[in-house]
């Protein structure tokens, strides 16, 4: 893993420590992540159980029923929690599967980070540059 020693454990540890996610407020749900080997196949090797109560979050390894059960390989989960893989893209590619409430999964993805290297900044472009580019494009 090049993005930190234990990205999955440290992500859930940070989530548990924070205990509250503002973008989860007004939402309550439980999610269970069944994490299998790197390839995403086989029996789950570890579980993460997340409860959300109006934004308040607890994390455990409980194996209980949940509103949403997400099945994913450890490598892909590592990529998700470090912003190197987009959750919706992963779902569309079949890298993760969901059982139960899609709404809970959509809520959960709000706490995932953006891609490493995204700064939110971009240099302004002058009117002359826009005009020149359009002229070049014909």
């Amino acid at each position: 893993m090049h993005a930190g020693k234990e990205p999955v454990s440290s992500f859930f540890a940070r989530l548990a420590e924070a205990g509250h996610v503002p973008t989860f407020e007004r939402n309550s749900a439980t999610l269970r992540f069944d994490v299998s080997g790197d390839d995403g196949n086989g029996h789950p090797r570890e579980r993460w159980y997340v409860t959300v109560t109006d934004g308040d979050v607890t994390v455990s390894h409980k194996n209980g029923p949940a509103d949403a059960v997400v099945r994913i390989g450890r490598r892909h989960l590592g990529a998700l929690v470090t912003g190197r893989l987009n959750a919706t893209a992963a779902y569309l590619r079949g890298l993760l599967t969901c059982e139960g409430s899609m709404a809970a999964v959509i809520m959960f993805q709000r706490c995932l980070p953006g891609p490493p290297g995204s700064t939110g900044r971009i240099a302004p472009i002058s009117s002359a540059a826009v005009t020149a580019e359009r002229r070049a494009a014909g």
Partner: protein, 679 residues
Amino acid sequence: MSDRLVQILEGNTFVVSDDRGDIEARADEPTGLFSFDTRFLSTWVLTVNGERLTALSTDDLQYFQTRFFLVPGTGSVYVNATMTVIRQREVADGFHEQVRVLNHSAEPADATIRIDAASDFADLFEVKDALRKRGTYARDVTGGGLVLRYRRDSYVRETWICSSAPAAIDERGLEFTVTIPPHGEWTTELDVLATEAGQHSLAGGRLAHADMARGLEKWLDKAPHLRCEWEPLEQIYRRCLTDLAALRFSTLTMPGRSLPAAGLPWFMTIFGRDSIFTSLQALPFVPELAATTLRALAERQGTRTDDFRDEDPGRILHEMRYGELTAFEERPHSPYYGTADATPLFVVLLDEYERWTGDTKLVRDLEPAARAALAWIDQYADLQGNGYVSYQRRNPETGLENQCWKDSWDSISYSRGDLPGFPRATCELQGYAYDAKVRAARLARLVWRDESAARQLEKEAASLKRRFNKDFWVADGEYFAVALDADGSQVDSLTSNIGHLLWSGIVEVSKARAVARHLTGLRLYSGWGVRTLADGEARYNPIGYHTGAVWPFDNSIIAWGLRRYGFKQEAAAVAAGILEAAEVFAGRLPEAFGGYPRSLTRYPVQYPTACSPQAWSTGAPLLLLRTALGLEPHDDHLLIDPALPKRIGHLELLDVPGRWKRIDAFGRGLIDTDRFTER
């Protein structure tokens, strides 16, 4: 040749075929069975005894159902045909097709009936741009049918085809060798299912077709009933409601509820801006669309910084897609956030929705989302640090250059024709931001019980209005500049955007008269509607998409704005022009039509576009009805203040839903709009 295209749909599954029901799509051709932005069938051809068929007639029974009457043979050969073929097709998660072959002769008929099927599994984006596929294809003949499969790594999409009548199935299709008795018929039911990797369909449960038809009747019945002396208006109204039903789209998180998708068929997905505007237009008629739109957009509100998707915390999405290019992050639509207006408009819709419905629960549920949207306006949208909302894409390859509703490359220009740099702060964005603050202040006071936030928002709104009326005002022309450029200088062309400013209420009363005069003046008003760009500007072109064409949606917002400032005659003129255009288009307004003077073409000239109906064009007559009747919620009452064009005559809108339960609105056309529309 069969050139006419037939399209039917349900949700975001749709079929585009020729008028025989056949599909023969080339890679860059937009025909086929599509679901979740992916083509699941690119070939679907019916032959009888090796011959193609000829269409006698095609009945569009419902938006999700078509019947094709066909005879074997092409050209003049079919004249003596003794067989008729009837295909009836209904869209669900894929489609269901009944094929009936009728033998009209007194002798038994031997026939070989064949369906050829294939799929290229193209992403909609690939169809538009003719891109090449990276995955591999497979075909399986299984016990009951034929499976077409596409695989790229873990991404798998499959088309399942099966038949009720026994068939010889090979990798290219299904074949039936039958003998049809004299004056008898042969029938089979074909099912085509679009799926993910042998799982159940992406869309969830399959809808019963009878339920769909009943659903449409119920939908029409639930909406207010309209009676009008000018009969075309009744037809326009019914067309709008039916098209709005066809444009309903359910998200995976709220399967039982629907929101308006942007357009049929290529934009059957959530678009922040289009879904919000259409929900606003339809509020007095089908308020539940707004509730679903607000919830769906809040679920997907931005929470992080993602340059590829132009995502920021609090930003409302622009467009959501489900195809292969999105799945592999080759396109940013998972979702893409590159729009500067959806975020303030989200707050505007939330307030307007509460004013109509009194649904304070939704306002409470979405308080965090609304506050995050307001924070986006101040913290992330002010790219120039001058207190104005502006935009510039951070994804130069596949992001959007113009992140306002006029999103084509040349839509924002100086009067002399050159293009401004980036960031750009277009004027209507400031209006939306102002309105969002004013409306949020009301919600903060009324529902969130936060007086200090309400005062702060009102203070910010007042300051924004003051600065805006100074910085954007083109004094010698007496109108508002379309934008401020990267240097904070005015982009000085005269555009329809000034009408949106009236709607938002950001225009100082002393300047409103001049703005209204421009909107109905010779340079902007064509006689059918307000042009996107004024005649006389360097880039003006009557068939320029955002540089001169007339957009019905734009005009409906403009009429609303004119009414807000008390310009009843001008608002009635805009309504009259657009509704008369709608009559010419048999009730279905196109996305845009030519900005030629009305006297020059006599009929509005449709702008060539593949998308019809378009959601916010469908919503335009609805909003024009609202503005013409002067419907305005006030506490628990509905105020009615008609200012109708004369031609409309007597108008009744019965059972308008809202916090008052149901109210009837009546009006009589008294305003002579000829002096505007006769030009």
